[in-house]
């Protein structure tokens, strides 16, 4: 341990501790901007570029960035003397001098870290007036880049390259013109962007935001000729409350349903219903492949990979197209829901699919892109019309003057609102494969599964592996979250080094609970841990915890689909993948 003094407080810290962390341990909160530390994932961004965290170190000529300066024996630090305060203020004013001041109408207003900093530091005027840098705005199906608002913290670059290994974003150009952009400054939709939205999740300003579909939803709700139905993804119910000041991990399923009904949706349904359906299709496919493999069929492709996550689907279509035949062909729950809604449910209501509007509430930005894919439409009418994020739903609720916190709890409508505990845990890493295991076990062994909790599949480590005992037959399962970790497992398969039967992959750290459309965590990963815990709690509160026990799913098969993997199920619930390794031409 070494002895240091920060603002006259004497403390002992371990060697290698930064001034920032040392200060934090004694309740001194040095402001930061570019710095980002995701504790539970061991991800750190500290380019020491913004210089907001500068402190004075006795004996050192210039001020030191606290985030990137290690403590040394006898170090004396002052975090708020007049020299430090003046410098910090100047730094912030210089950043603001090249930043638009349209805060009132900025999509990030209220949750912008730069705005908060300007407030905390009492900036009332920007002394430095001069040229501002301007770039073209880039709108993709899911993400908007408004680069004029970029402060070059490079958090997005770190997420895109180091965590996700997608490699779309990089700092380009030099000096005043430097900016984070895709290669050749092409638009995102020409790049290999997966729309995972992790860049949006960490952007401190309004430079990266989601495409907002709330107005289209409001217009659909106001149209008397349309029947508007909504589905809500599992991870939304454990995060939405945060937007209304509740603690992380608050379960607001009942309030959310009430709010959606008050917003005017004709039927409030649950993506969890479609998650149960996914388990029957994906689980059957999994069992089919494993059974054939165990019988010695050499043509069968193993491991089977889950296909619920649209960011992940984009990733392997771009980066590993030669392995397009390994993932399950099952569509994601969002798309299964849309396909069933616009056929089975529209028929039940006796209306044309064009007059049924399907809205989904998603923790995800890639879902916005997914529902616009050509293969998910019939005669130009999409299965899912609009995908809005958890954050957008919060805005909708606020606009409709609904006092969310005092709402009573209501339940989803039937038939597509019924779900099991297995579906709820789809929202966290490890959840999809656990849900699949619950159903696959019973079908494979013909026995009743007493203990439904597969604890060995749970957790937050990047890559996990576990064995599940199918009554004497060990099934080897791999789990990865974060696309960089998915890449490692994929590379193993490519190199013939993988002996898993099944692998679950989710693009975002933590799974959907950490999706790009969720309330912003501002670097506090304990929020994700709380959301994960809440999903498992919600699971235990359900009477039914195995997807195949969902009576409305059983009815759907009896009345409409026949059996899992039937021809009709194939047509409506399965998909195929494309080779997208050759991106679009760059327009010169």
């Amino acid at each position: 341990m070494i002895n240091i003094k920060i603002d006259n407080k004497e403390i002992k810290v371990a060697p290698g501790t930064t001034v920032l962390d040392a200060a934090k341990s004694v309740g001194i909160k040095i402001p930061t901007l570019c710095y980002l530390h995701l504790h539970d994932f061991d991800i750190t961004n500290k380019p020491a570029g913004c210089r907001i965290c500068v402190v004075e170190v006795k004996g050192r000529r210039n001020l030191a960035p606290a985030c990137a300066t290690d403590c040394f024996e006898g170090m004396e630090v002052n975090t708020h003397n007049i020299r430090v305060l003046n410098s910090r203020k100047t730094v912030l004013e210089l950043i603001l001098s090249d930043h638009p001041t349209d805060c009132l109408i900025c999509p990030k207003s209220g949750s912008c870290e730069l705005q908060t900093l300007a407030q905390d530091m009492g900036i009332r005027q920007i002394e430095y007036q001069g040229e501002q840098s301007h770039y073209k705005e880039d709108t993709s199906p899911a993400i908007i880049r408004d680069v004029d608002k970029c402060i070059m913290c490079r958090r997005c670059e770190m997420m895109c390259n180091d965590v996700q290994t997608v490699g779309v974003l990089s700092a380009v150009n030099r000096g005043f013109m430097s900016v984070v952009a895709p290669a050749f400054e092409m638009n995102l939709d020409h790049s290999t962007c997966t729309y995972c939205g992790q860049c949006v999740a960490v952007c401190p300003t309004g430079a990266l935001t989601e495409v907002d579909h709330t107005n289209q939803v409001i217009r659909a709700l106001a149209d008397p000729s349309k029947t508007v139905i909504v589905q809500t993804a599992p991870a939304v119910r454990v995060a939405l409350g945060e937007e209304f000041g509740m603690d992380a991990g608050s379960i607001v399923t009942g309030k959310m349903v009430t709010a959606l009904r008050q917003l005017g949706f004709d039927y409030v349904f649950d993506t969890d219903f479609a998650a149960d359906l996914t388990i029957l299709e994906e689980g059957t496919e999994l069992l089919d492949r494993i059974t054939r493999h165990l019988k010695g069929d050499k043509t069968v492709k193993l491991p089977i990979l889950t296909s619920c996550c649209p960011g992940w689907v984009n990733f392997f279509e771009h980066q590993f197209p030669e392995m397009n035949d390994i993932p399950s062909t099952a569509r994601s729950p969002q798309q299964m829901f849309g396909a069933i809604a616009k056929t089975y449910f529209a028929e039940k209501l006796g209306i044309k699919r064009e007059n049924l509007v399907v809205v989904s509430i998603m923790p995800c930005l890639a879902k916005k892109y997914e529902c616009q894919r050509d293969e998910f439409e019939t005669n130009g009418n999409p299965d899912v019309d609009f995908a809005v994020s958890t954050r957008e739903l919060a805005h909708l609720i606020k606009q409709a003057n609904i006092d969310f916190n005092i709402l009573p709890d209501e339940d989803f409508d039937r038939p597509m609102g019924e779900s099991t505990g297995a579906a709820v845990i789809f929202g966290t890493t490890g959840g999809v494969i656990e849900a699949a295991a619950r159903t696959a076990y019973e079908i494979f062994t013909g026995k009743n599964l007493e203990k439904v909790d597969f604890k060995q599949l749970r957790g937050m480590e990047w890559i996990r592996h576990a064995e599940v005992d199918f009554d004497g037959t060990p099934i080897r399962i791999g789990i990865a979250h974060g696309l960089g970790n998915a890449r490692k497992l994929l590379q193993d398969i490519k190199d013939g080094k993988s002996d898993f039967h099944a692998i679950e992959i989710m693009a975002c750290p933590g799974g959907c609970i950490g999706g790009g459309g969720q309330p912003l965590h501002h670097g506090d990963t304990s929020i994700l841990m709380s959301r994960q815990k809440a999903l498992y709690t919600e699971d235990t509160h359900k009477t039914l915890r195995k997807s195949h026990e969902n009576p409305y799913i059983q009815q759907l098969y009896a009345d409409f689909l026949g059996k899992p993997m039937s021809e009709k199920a194939h047509h409506l619930l399965h998909t195929h993948y494309f080779d997208k390794s050759k991106p679009a031409e760059i327009s010169e």
């Binding site: 390259n161 490699g167 779309v168 974003l169 990089s170 700092a171 380009v172 150009n173 030099r174 430097s178 952009a181 895709p182 290669a183 050749f184 400054e185 790049s191 050759k582 991106p583 031409e585 760059i586």
Partner: protein, 158 residues
Amino acid sequence: MANIKINEQKVQQIEAICKKFNNEKGELINVLHQTQSLVGYLPAEVQEIIAKNLNCSVAHVYGVVTFYSFFTMIPKGEFPISICMGTACYVRGAEKVLDEFKRILNVPVGQTTPDGKFSLSCLRCVGACGLAPVVMVGEKVYGRVSPDGVKDIIKEYK
């Protein structure tokens, strides 16, 4: 991405350069340097070949190419003209010389004339400060250049 327009032999030469540096990501600048002297410039497809061989993202390669003013994505002209903007040349009127080149050739700095004949760039000191202001055309050095002398230099290459 952009269809490969450069010929197969050049592609192999670029790959050989990458290999010479063990396809090391950290050698990117050296690889770009040698590739530019081979091809003359670094068009998009060349950057893609390099990214693939060094196993890094194209965005990263583009980031480095756009950071250093030495690297260019625009093909140099048949006769590349460089005006020294070092301190000595600058104080002796290099900017006026540059303005005259820009006026006559009708291209900004960093660009090439539409006929591909001349490209215009600035550089920092060629070590001939005694001859300031200095202009280079290809490898040939012109000293004590005045704005009036610019048209004569261009005439030599017409």
